[in-house]
Symmetry: C2
Subunit: 346 residues, 2 copies
């Protein structure tokens, strides 16, 4: 049907299938919401033409390597991995390959990887971090997008999860459930995520004419802190917590919900409340944050929590980077929404 003397291009596949090159890319990567018949037609066209994305040929034409560097300070991290995965997926859908490089908090290693990225002529770089605390920018003329940990330079493009959005969804959910005396057990003090989550609990309640049942507590991102914080909170509220369930049932605990800064903390909170014979959610509803499933599902009861949608965040970072590579750079911090995941703890 078609007999080409030059390498087959994505535009040839698009022409044969009667769709746009972007649709071809989606079909071949099994992304996007295409009709199955369209997807099959495009795959048949690619197969028929023997289409193989050829980055070298494209690079010669476009002076682009169709490669993006993914630089992670902490690839073992629970947060950076889904961000990198989301970015890798979005890049693959755009026929870009991802070079993976981890720095392990070592500036020398970071400098080495940046040199390598340059030597390999990457079209752009995505930098992920371990926390949402801002990090110093990378000095380079290659387009860069910061994902999860924003750049301290506000003229850079950064994509950061919207902790305030997540906590507002938690508070709205608890108020919907009829809870009015809400306490907050936060993570490590002075961390960006800790502060935004606690501050948002206060401000959303204030909009409804309410206040926290007790001043927010801060400690660690750990189960052990969650367990200790329960005792601290209840002591501060003057609740008697010794004795079996029957007895505490008659006490006024002064609190009917506890929002936690993380799923780990919330799991410690539910464990301690169970030990004290205080029913969750009957007497106190408990919420986590992160939707770290191994914690949230193993908790008794399973935790209502907030999913940070980190793969979506990674995908968004890739989109901003592709824009920048295409000559349309973004600036400033873009916040990505979170999702409430209701479970038995509320």
């Amino acid at each position: 049907m078609t007999n080409l003397q030059r390498p087959v291009r994505i535009t040839d596949v698009a022409a044969l299938a009667g769709v746009s090159p972007g649709t071809v890319s989606k079909a071949l990567n099994n992304t996007g919401s295409l009709k199955e018949s369209t997807r099959q037609r495009i795959k048949a066209a690619a197969e028929q033409l023997g289409f193989v994305p050829d980055p070298d040929a494209r690079w010669l034409a476009a002076r682009r390597s169709y490669t993006v560097g993914l630089l992670s300070v902490d690839a073992a991290g629970r947060f950076s991995i889904p961000v990198m995965l989301g970015a890798e997926n979005a890049l693959a859908a755009g026929e870009m390959s991802a070079l993976m490089a981890t720095t392990r908090y070592d500036p020398v290693r970071e400098a080495y990887h940046l040199k390598t990225f340059r030597a390999r002529r990457v079209d752009g770089i995505i930098v992920t971090g371990r926390t949402t605390d801002p990090r110093p920018p990378i000095r380079t003329d290659i387009p860069v997008v910061y994902a999860f940990a924003p750049s301290t330079d506000t003229s850079d493009a950064s994509v950061v999860p919207d902790d305030a959005d997540g906590m507002a969804k938690i508070i709205d959910h608890l108020l919907d459930r009829g809870r009015r005396r809400i306490a907050h057990i936060g993570g490590r003090p002075h961390k960006h995520a800790s502060e935004v989550r606690a501050d948002t609990a206060v401000s959303v309640l204030k909009e409804r004419g309410l206040t926290l049942a007790a001043p927010p507590l801060f400690g660690e991102w750990s189960e052990e802190w969650g367990r200790r914080a329960v005792d601290q909170l209840l002591a501060g509220l003057g609740a008697r917590t010794t004795g079996p369930d029957r007895r505490t049932d008659q006490d006024d605990l002064g609190v009917d919900a506890i929002t936690c800064g993380s799923d780990q903390i919330a799991r410690g909170v539910t464990d301690r409340l169970r030990e004290l014979g205080i029913g969750v959610p009957e007497r106190i509803a408990v919420t986590g944050f992160d939707n770290w499933e191994v914690m949230a599902l193993a908790s008794r009861p399973p935790l209502t929590t907030i999913d940070l949608l980190l793969e979506d965040l990674g995908r968004r970072a890739a989109e901003l980077l592709l824009d920048a590579i295409g000559g349309r750079p973004h600036h400033g911090i873009e916040l990505t929404p979170m999702e409430l995941v209701p479970r038995a703890s509320t």
Copy 2:
């Protein structure tokens, strides 16, 4: 001192610093055990010559891309990530870059990534898996090493953690601690890791003239299964487990140690034993498997467990691949050792 008209090569840096090119690579990557003064001298030499690894130049010379494809079916996986990180680190030390590609169990996606790897002329491919169950080989003439999940084709090179080594270390440790009545709570039945771990417990005890205190139990890789299995085990042994600690202290439980197929299971076991008032490790020692720190450290008490040393496994896979790229392919399954991590649960 040196004025080169051609691109600076690693051999130029080596000559100026008076070391081998391999030592230059180690120094610039901060790997290996070099004297700090040597490292500094090499870095100064690289800086002075303006050395930047140039993969394109090298590729033209050597017909190599100095790029390796890391193909993961499950990059979000707790097991595949450390393997990929170990491989990436070893490759960076060898001045190879890692192209990251995740297939998410989708054969079409796998085929797409393999096409891309070919188009980018990767020198080799490392394939990681989600479990240690064997997987079908990849059909390609590019060198491939399978890491964690071996190839079903025994002429392929695979690197797999030595579960038998790990469980033997656990049993030896418990026998050293004077435990003689050991029971085993395994993970999902018919999985390779499950079977090897249980079979090894039996065979190592047999070598010492001992048997398991009860037939091994199999269920799920979950805390919930660990909690349930405790009741099943103790009921099977005829132990009375109701009542506070004082009473069970006088019962003969018929078991003084429980080896578990994973840290998650072991955590469920310690939780249930605590609820039953049975002291860990005083009355029953408990061991995990995996050294998944969030589980092993949050357990009360923290778990004695086995570290799979997955980064070392990834590094070893990279070494085998570099050998194959250099014309010295390996064949068959290589088992990598594990490490006992003793903590308070024994």
